[in-house]
Amino acid sequence: MIDQDLNNVEPLVYESKIGVPYYWWAGDTATRFLEAIRDKGELWGTRCPECGKVFVPPRKSCPRCFGQQTSWEKVGPGGTVVTYTVARKKREAIPEDVPVVFALIRLDGADTAMLHKIGGVDPDKVSTGMRVKPRFAEERKGHIRDIECFIPD
């Protein structure tokens, strides 16, 4: 019987990976945000004229009101930790050694928080409501990691 034959099979593992390269166009809006970090060490958000909210990361159109117009507004550089986690176990997505502190940081003048990391401090000393400021990389390339992390202010 075929059934019995299959019972004696030791299944193979077929190892592979999907290696598709990606080139994500940042678009005009994100490009302006990233260039301001790279060239001036400044953080900018966009303000919706209808609801008045300042969004960081910046948006080309307001996701709430759906209006097509927004204006730029300088935010930060200081901000407040909204929530955070200390990654203790090395997970595959994490590029560096653990512990790593991921946090949502509301920059001064912004209505939304941005995701980044907190460094320069004992992870056990991080707390919600803590004041932080960006530490910029020496060499900046127009990338979100041009901010190395946020450090205590």
Binding site: P11, P57, T85, A93
Partner: protein
């Protein structure tokens, strides 16, 4: 309005690593069981919906792998993403539209074949977030902390969810992690991402689930007592975690209100007998129960401690063990719906006496961005 029922359910055992079965083997098993459950022939199934995800499956057009296993060749077919609750929704609309008398909905996942951290890292924005290395676990850990600080919930409260659900799984022969553990065991388990310990997190799992939905005329001819789909709604919050108040779940509240209105439920706390909610992480069971209006905000932990969510409690929750006991991601919502069906038929492993109305909730995105809420009833 035409009534639609779930008439057949089929599930594979949920396992850490199904080395002998590929996607199509799992889906065939689940489909075969669902057909047998209601005494239906594949030829009589009106149309087919797959719930699958190309990232998790490592395959573009991932639904293509399972078509033969669903008997799709002569039928109309489509594919949704999300956790299976969304696929069931689309399957229901295809009956209500008058196009088909019945829909087969299948969902499959093999977490064992991919790296969940990388798969869920790809949910984050490629320009602003992804390179930081955040994933589903660390994203949800930030939500867990926000919820703790807003409500005063503690690690012990979260641990109690894990203890209860793993215990419920002990009577479920299809569960991956039936375990008799203590609150201390959870607290002593490895810290993955503060405040989530290993036993606060659902495991990586393989499994497939199939549901057969049918209109009233079809349902009444089949073997099992129909379980009626009384209400459904879904809703998405903002995408960026920093746009949201992570301690709250407004999109779930909105979806629940609409689903209850459709089902004619005015007092969910009173009208709902059993709940199956998306406990990918322990804290989520508490948050989602509150979002569903089944506990006041910040009070679910007290109901839990009082035993209200136990199988013998006032509102049993995740009676088959929930996702903490086995989490085949894209099939998970269908497993929760299948358990609700078994409860309402009176054939569950941890049967809730007299259960007539159940709520099921599914999730899409990180930290409960989008929710799908179902109300099922035996009447």
């Amino acid at each position: 309005m035409e009534k639609v029922a779930i008439v057949g359910v089929g599930m594979t055992k949920i396992e850490a690593n199904k080395v002998s079965e590929r996607f199509e083997d799992m889906v065939f098993e689940a489909t075969r069981k669902a057909l047998d459950d209601c005494g239906m022939d594949i030829k009589d199934v009106g149309n087919v919906i797959t719930a699958s995800n190309d990232f998790w499956d490592g395959r573009t057009i991932s639904c293509m792998a399972v078509g033969d296993a669903q008997g799709v060749r002569e039928k109309n077919a489509s594919c949704t993403e999300g956790d299976g609750t969304f696929g069931a929704f689309y399957g229901m609309t295809r009956i209500l539209s008058g196009a088909y008398p019945s829909t087969l909905v299948t969902g499959h996942s093999k977490g064992s074949e991919s790296v969940s951290s990388l798969i869920t890292n790809a949910v984050f924005d490629p320009i602003y977030e992804r390179s930081l290395g955040v994933d589903m676990v660390t994203g949800c850990a930030m939500q867990a902390r926000a919820y703790m600080e807003a409500t005063g919930a503690t690690a012990e409260d979260f641990a109690r969810v894990s203890v209860k659900n793993h215990k419920n799984a002990m009577n479920n022969p299809l569960a991956q992690l039936p375990m008799d553990i203590s609150v201390q065991d959870v607290l002593d388990s490895e810290m993955i991402a503060d405040p989530l310990h290993k036993l606060d997190c659902s495991p990586v799992s393989d499994g497939a689930c199939a549901l057969i939905l049918a209109d009233e005329a079809t349902a009444k001819k089949l073997a099992k007592k129909p379980v009626w789909l009384k209400g459904v709604s879904f809703c998405s919050d903002a995408y960026f975690l920093g746009d949201r108040d992570l301690a709250k779940s407004p999109s779930l509240e909105k979806a629940a209100q609409k689903a209850y209105a459709m089902a004619g439920i005015s007092d969910p706390g009173k009208d709902i007998d059993v709940a199956q909610v998306y406990d990918a992480f322990s804290y989520q069971e508490l948050m989602w129960l509150e979002g569903l209006g089944l506990a006041d905000y910040g009070k679910a932990k007290d109901h839990l401690a009082a035993g209200d969510f136990d199988v013998s409690g006032a509102l049993p929750v995740n009676t088959a063990g929930g996702l903490l006991s086995g989490h085949p991601v894209i099939a998970a919502g269908l497993y929760l719906m299948a358990e609700a069906v078994r409860q309402l038929r009176g054939e569950a492993d941890n049967q809730v006496e007299g259960a007539r109305t159940a709520v099921v909730q599914g999730v899409n995105g990180v930290a409960g961005q989008s929710h799908c809420v179902w109300v099922l009833s035996s009447e």
